[in-house]
């Protein structure tokens, strides 16, 4: 590959990370504050050539009372985030009684057996991830601690310190684009999104895949109405199963939408859409889905469920996820996307816990209004004044910036501001 990416190699795992964060992950939402207390100690610690790495904290609302297939998805999301390529090591903060927690040791019990029941820890060890755990309900094992909580917090801090020391010794190595996954999404759209921004991102996606990279897109609900465009990106003869999967996804989305219509209040296109000139759902959806690329020779390779591990073999993948920004980004990150490119019209500050999220716009007003939120502005006036093609313009502006962010030379604005957005998707209400 022509482009050299400088990234952190994860020993024994065949993956490369563009960041070297240490993650603090509560296995259940009940211990979010405990995790925060530990994180507070390290919130100003930075390391790496450009101080791009830090201790990150994944606050979330999941980890307990998941029913049905929600349990599997929640587990996979936490597992995916903990073994994310951008994470050097992880501290699991368990409560003791949650669905994915470590059960406190009973006196006389086999320690190894007990720990092997801690599935999250066990799976992470098998994947070769550096992992430590603390358990709030564990009995007090050292005499110097007055309570188990004090013990958990103190041990947690020690583990994180140890991981930071190790992470500091790592250096970036040269590698190719074929090891990397880019997620794409859009939110807070306006008419410029459909006309220019998504189309511009589409050209960059094509370019990225031609250079050997993998791209994943999500937000299933936005495909409704643009079925024709999506089906055009599927090789029906070779990949019949992909066609069937996408069809099933769309059918489910219609049923869900219909079931919720009474509560959604406003349907597509929304009155706001109609007022800004969008007439039909198809028009809206096609404008959104232009971001998956223009090249007909790049088909959708497969459909993944929420947080499923994204294969790093080049090409385009679709991940089933809700349309909401935080969930769609969390899903792609949990699936192993190294960074996310997000197109926006009105501007949204979202970020992610494990990777950079770059916001792109072609709306000049938005860019001037929020220069600390928008990472990339594509000046559309060049198209009208100098007759430049949108394709050349977008690749010229976005692609080098994406590479620089991957190499850690630049930090995304969301990273600089310390966004650590993450959450677990739930289909069912939780008791």
């Amino acid at each position: 590959m022509e482009e050299a990416i400088y990234a952190y190699r994860r020993k024994g795992r065949k993956v490369y990370g563009i960041r070297n964060h240490v993650l603090i992950l509560p296995t259940t939402a009940c211990v979010n504050r405990i995790a925060e207390i530990i994180w507070d100690e390290f919130k100003d610690v930075r390391w790496g050539e450009n101080k791009e790495n830090r201790v990150v904290l994944a606050r979330h609302s999941g980890g307990c009372t998941h029913i049905g297939f929600d349990e599997e998805i929640a587990f996979n999301t936490l597992l995916g985030l903990a073994s994310h390529p951008n994470i050097y090591g992880v501290l699991l903060i368990s409560l003791g009684c949650g669905q994915f927690c470590k059960r406190p040791l009973i006196e006389g019990e086999n320690k190894k057996l007990n720990l092997s029941e801690f599935k999250l820890y066990d799976r992470l060890l098998k994947r070769g991830v550096k992992v430590y755990w603390i358990n709030v309900q564990e009995r007090v094992m050292f005499k110097k601690y007055k309570s188990s909580l004090e013990q958990a917090i103190d041990l947690g801090k020690k583990f994180v310190e140890r991981m930071i020391e190790d992470a500091k010794t790592m250096e970036r190595e040269e590698t190719g684009l074929e090891h990397f996954v880019m997620g794409i999404g859009n939110g807070a759209s306006d008419p410029t999104s459909g006309l220019f921004t998504n189309s511009a991102l589409g050209y960059v996606v094509d370019h990225f895949i031609h250079k050997g990279g993998t791209v994943v897109f999500s937000q299933t609900i936005e495909m409704l109405g643009a079925e024709e465009l999506v089906f055009r990106k599927i090789d029906r003869n070779k990949r019949k199963h992909v066609y069937n999967k996408v069809k099933r996804l769309l059918e489910t989305a219609v049923v869900l939408k219909e079931a919720l219509q009474e509560y959604l209040g406003e349907s597509d296109p929304t009155p706001g859409n109609i007022r800004s000139g969008i007439s039909t759902l198809t028009e809206k959806s096609v404008g959104t889905m232009l971001k998956i690329g223009h090249d007909p020779s790049i088909p959708i390779k497969d459909v993944l469920y929420f947080s499923q591990k994204i294969p790093r073999n080049g090409g385009l993948y679709l991940m089933d996820s809700p349309g909401m920004d935080i969930f769609s980004i969390s899903g792609m990150i949990a699936g192993g996307a190294h960074l996310v490119i997000f197109t926006t019209g009105m501007g949204t500050p979202v970020g992610s816990v494990a990777g950079p999220v770059l916001k792109v716009t072609t709306n000049k007003e938005t860019f001037e209004k929020m220069p600390d939120i928008i990472d990339i502005y594509i000046p559309t006036e060049e198209i009208f004044d100098r007759g430049k093609k949108l394709k050349d313009l977008s690749i010229e502006i976005m692609y080098p910036k994406i590479l620089k962010v991957m190499n850690g030379e630049i930090l995304s604005l969301a990273e600089q501001r310390g966004h650590m957005d993450f959450d677990v998707r739930c289909y069912w209400p939780r008791a």
Binding site: V254, E266, P269, S279, T282
Partner: protein, 193 residues
């Protein structure tokens, strides 16, 4: 932005106004990658980001934007006219007449109504649709888009301008929503109206 009509794909028959455009004035059409490819004289005002027809579009023809059919015209649309959901419908595969048989009509014309004539309840129009059946007096509900013969149906399609007249109240929003839902799924729930 600038006073231009932006055309995304070469097969498009509608462009997007990048700024507010006035009627009776000529504006250049800008195609992506090609530059200015022609001019269009407008017959209606075009709000910012709204679509303009770039050539005459006949009834039942596809509306093409981004190189994709995004809807179907339900009346003849002249060149240089605003294209919005008052003159196009969503599903390109759906026969408009099946709408009538399935009941999505607003009411019947009482007399012959000429194109451009104002449609008023009980003056030249008898409402059937549950939403407007209870309207008192001679409320204006829209303008005839084509010549409508007496005792034929008046539907979303041969009538325009209904958005402005009925306003964006909750009932109307629900009607539009159900209209789209009907187009997608072929079922409509009148029980809530």
């Amino acid at each position: 932005m600038r006073r231009l009509i932006y055309k995304v794909d070469s097969s498009d028959n509608v462009g997007t106004a990048l700024d507010y455009l006035r009627k009776n004035e000529e504006y250049p059409i800008f195609e992506e990658g090609k530059g200015i490819i022609g001019k269009v004289k407008l017959k209606t005002d075009i709000p910012k980001w709204y679509k303009v027809s770039l050539n005459k579009i006949y009834e039942d023809e596809d509306i093409i934007k981004f190189g994709f059919p995004i809807g179907k015209s339900v009346i003849d649309i002249d060149k240089g006219v605003v294209v919005h959901f008052t003159n196009i419908i969503l599903d390109p595969d759906l026969d408009f007449y099946s709408l009538i048989t399935k009941g999505f009509i607003l009411g019947d014309a009482l007399t012959d109504i000429k194109r451009g004539e104002i449609i008023k309840i009980r003056k030249n129009f008898m409402p059937i649709h549950p939403l407007i059946k209870d309207f008192k007096g001679r409320s204006r509900i829209g303008v005839a888009a084509i010549n409508i013969g007496g005792s034929t149906s008046i539907r979303l399609g041969n009538m325009v301008d209904i958005t402005r007249r009925l306003g964006w109240n909750e009932k109307y929003r629900r009607m539009v929503r159900d209209f789209y839902r009907f187009l997608r799924l072929g079922l409509i729930d009148f029980s809530r109206m």
